[in-house]
């Protein structure tokens, strides 16, 4: 009977916790083996399981018990199909979770049992800056992205291309900071970091960033690191920002309020809209977009 196909995983799992199920698990294995080789099950397991289920149901409702007994094969097939289907989806979900940090695949933000809080798919919303774009990871593109507008590390022997879109004020970008740092330091990658202010009025950290980068690219990456590590409420504080650039030995006093700087930031935002980015962090690795703070393995797997 097809029932042993259901019994096998059930008793195998129960057998891990209780010795009384181990014999049943052994019988299930034999039963499945016989069934898989088109022979009748000779251990009586199917009969016992059927009688046990029907008997327990009959204790409370004889009519229902009779119904189950009569159509037991049908019920067995239904449950077997459900078992196979759920096993498939569970396995696929597990693989997707491992590969993409979400059971439903890289492009999905749907509920995932392995990530019940949905943390891996959450983003800091950029509607205020980039409103109007579809909020779907698969819509993200670098086709019109101009990396020269942003902060770059070009390496002669790079075989990977990494584009990081984040912001200092964004919670989920900060959650991914360790991975971002690792990607920035990745020797095999050309890296571009694009900073987006999540509030249109909060442009100071972006202006400072642009100015630092213009004067000293190495100092910028230090600035970048400091800004991700200071409290969120200080990232737009000019006193704090001035202290940071002072410690880096960079003078940006005339740059931050210059017209060129304001124009540059507008261009950066305008160009980022072409990518359809709707939240941070959004990280492109070799053209593949990853939205939300995924586990480290998801990013590393996409590197060549």
């Amino acid at each position: 009977m097809v029932l042993c196909f259901i019994a096998l995983p059930v008793f195998l799992i129960l057998g891990i916790f209780s010795a009384k199920y181990r014999q049943l698990a052994k019988e299930s294995i034999r039963c499945v083996f016989l069934k898989a080789t088109f022979r009748p099950c000779d251990v009586g397991l199917d009969t016992r399981v059927k009688a046990s289920i029907v008997g327990n149901v009959m204790r409370f409702n004889k009519t229902l018990g009779r119904l189950i007994y009569k159509y037991f094969i049908v019920f067995s097939w239904i449950f077997t199909i459900l078992l196979v289907a759920s096993t498939y989806y569970t396995a696929a979900g597990g693989i997707n979770y491992y590969l993409y940090g979400n059971c439903n695949g890289l492009d999905s933000t749907d509920f995932c049992l392995f990530d019940p809080s949905g943390h891996n798919s959450q983003v800091t919303d950029l509607t205020a800056v980039c409103g109007g774009v579809p909020k779907e990871p698969k819509s993200l593109t670098l086709d019109f992205f101009n990396s020269s507008l942003y902060y770059q590390i070009d390496r002669d022997e790079a075989i990977n291309e990494v584009v990081i879109v984040g912001c200092y004020e964004c919670k989920y970008t900060r959650d991914t900071f360790d991975v971002i740092q690792e990607l920035i330091a990745e020797e095999t990658a050309d890296v571009t970091f694009a900073h987006l202010p999540i509030h249109p009025q909060n442009k100071q950290s972006s202006n400072y960033a642009n100015c630092v980068y213009e004067q000293d690219q190495e100092a910028f990456w230090e600035y970048n690191q400091v800004l991700f590590n200071i409290p969120i409420n200080q990232t737009e504080n000019t006193t704090v920002l001035n202290n940071v650039v002072d410690q880096l030995g960079v003078n940006v006093s005339s740059c931050v309020s210059s017209n060129e700087t304001i124009v540059l930031l507008d261009e950066q935002i305008k160009n980022l809209k072409t990518t359809n980015v709707y939240g941070t962090p959004s990280i492109f690795i070799n053209g593949e977009a990853i939205v939300g703070p995924k586990p480290r393995r998801v990013y590393m797997r996409l590197l060549d």
Partner: protein, 405 residues
């Protein structure tokens, strides 16, 4: 919580919350037996026959009294003829291993023996080259006396007739007295398996004139792990020892030993004193209840079940093992369904109706395999079962059989 049943046998038996119809496998124990076992452990938990203190002497007296009760229960006045064993199987094995069987000797049994009275002989067939002849039963599974007489007439080297007294698969009582008489006319020894007889019938080994008679405590309200082999004293004296060691010798040197007298000669090692005392108490209990009264009670319940399932028996939904007349089947109602697995029915009885029966081949695989029957459902009745329980079993069986319709 109610610990003992109120409805049957004056509340002597534990209330298990189930309709217990598996007494042919294991009987329940009355409070009196349980108390007697506890008494040993609580009041004189000592060694017998070897220590010299008050507790030990008290135990000696209690054991002697128990042995006398057991002897009296099966109709002998001689407690030396009562050998304490673990169970019927050990008693049968004791005889199989102490009679000097030689190649060509013949052992005759019925064709529906429990493995306890079959395997020892098959073992001797394989090891010593004896011959084993099962007597074919009549069509209704009763003993075929004519076939038995013919076999005893034709076979010249029969050394032992070993038969079940009351069968555990159908409750049929074999005519042990006649069987013994016919065997003795030819100087053939007779061993009887009394496991299913002693709980339900008044046994008198003296009247039966049987040479050896084995039975178990656990089927007759006594403790499990205790049994008895009755043997005529003269024969037991002649038999060599089986299990030897402590208690079986009077004294020993590095090279020799003096064999102990009966019954200790066969009782190697420290005995199950609590079990012996419990068995003695069970004998007392059964005698007080009256074996004839118990037997008629069982037959009345068996009739309720047989009549209640008459339609199913008539239309072939159930096939009865043994004669249709319930008075010939003691407390056994054993049936199988041509379309439903016996274990399935037993499990449904258990899960859905709280009815405990035994399913399978009941340790008589040879009989079932010989008839290509996969097993049966056996309801076995006893002193504590009630008419309500018999009716409940009938109702449950009817409902289960209707599942397929």
């Amino acid at each position: 919580m109610m610990l003992f049943k109120k409805k049957s046998s004056a509340g002597d038996f534990p209330n298990l919350g189930v309709t217990y119809l598996d007494s042919a496998c294991m009987s329940l124990r009355p409070k009196q037996v349980i108390d007697k076992i506890s008494e040993y452990y609580l009041k004189y938990p000592a060694c017998s026959g070897r220590s010299n203190h008050a507790l030990s002497r008290k135990l000696d007296l209690e054991l002697l009294e128990a042995r006398k009760k057991i002897a009296n229960f099966i109709g002998t006045k001689n407690p030396k003829e009562i050998i304490i064993t673990k169970n019927t199987t050990e008693g049968m094995n004791l005889i199989a291993n102490t009679i000097d069987f030689k190649k060509g000797d013949v052992v005759v049994t019925t064709d529906k023996e429990h493995n306890s009275n079959l395997i020892p002989w098959i073992k001797l067939v394989n090891e010593k080259g004896i011959k084993h002849i099962p007597i074919p039963s009549n069509e209704d599974n009763t003993f075929n006396l004519e076939a038995y007489k013919i076999i005893l007439e034709e076979e010249k080297n029969i050394k032992l007739v070993s038969v079940v007294h009351v069968s555990n698969i159908d409750g049929v009582t074999n005519p042990l007295k006649e069987i013994t008489q016919i065997a003795h006319e030819k100087n053939i020894l007779v061993l009887a398996d009394g496991a299913q007889a002693t709980p339900h019938k008044q046994i008198n080994v003296t009247e039966l004139d049987v040479d050896f008679y084995a039975f178990s405590g656990h089927k007759m309200l006594g403790p499990s792990g205790i049994g008895v082999l009755y043997g005529k004293e003269a024969l037991l004296k002649e038999l060599p020892q089986f299990i030897v060691g402590g208690e079986t010798v009077k004294e020993s040197t590095y090279a020799s030993y003096d064999v102990e007298d009966l019954p200790e000669k066969f009782e190697g090692g420290l005995q199950d004193y609590a079990g012996i005392l419990g068995l003695g108490e069970a004998c007392t209990y059964l005698q007080k209840k009256g074996l004839d009264s118990i037997s008629s009670h069982e037959q009345k319940l068996n009739k309720i079940i047989t009549d209640g399932l008459q339609e199913e028996l008539d239309n072939g939904d159930l096939i009865l093992i043994g004669p249709r007349d319930p008075s010939l089947r003691s407390g056994i109602f054993n049936v199988y369904s041509p379309t439903m697995d016996a274990h399935e029915i037993a499990q449904l009885l258990d899960k859905a109706y709280n009815v405990a029966v035994r399913s399978g081949m009941h340790c008589v695989h040879s009989w079932f395999n010989g008839r290509k029957i996969n097993g049966s459902i056996r309801a076995s009745l006893y002193v504590y079962n009630t008419e309500e329980e018999a009716h409940a079993f009938v109702k449950a069986m009817k409902e289960i059989l209707r599942l397929q319709k």
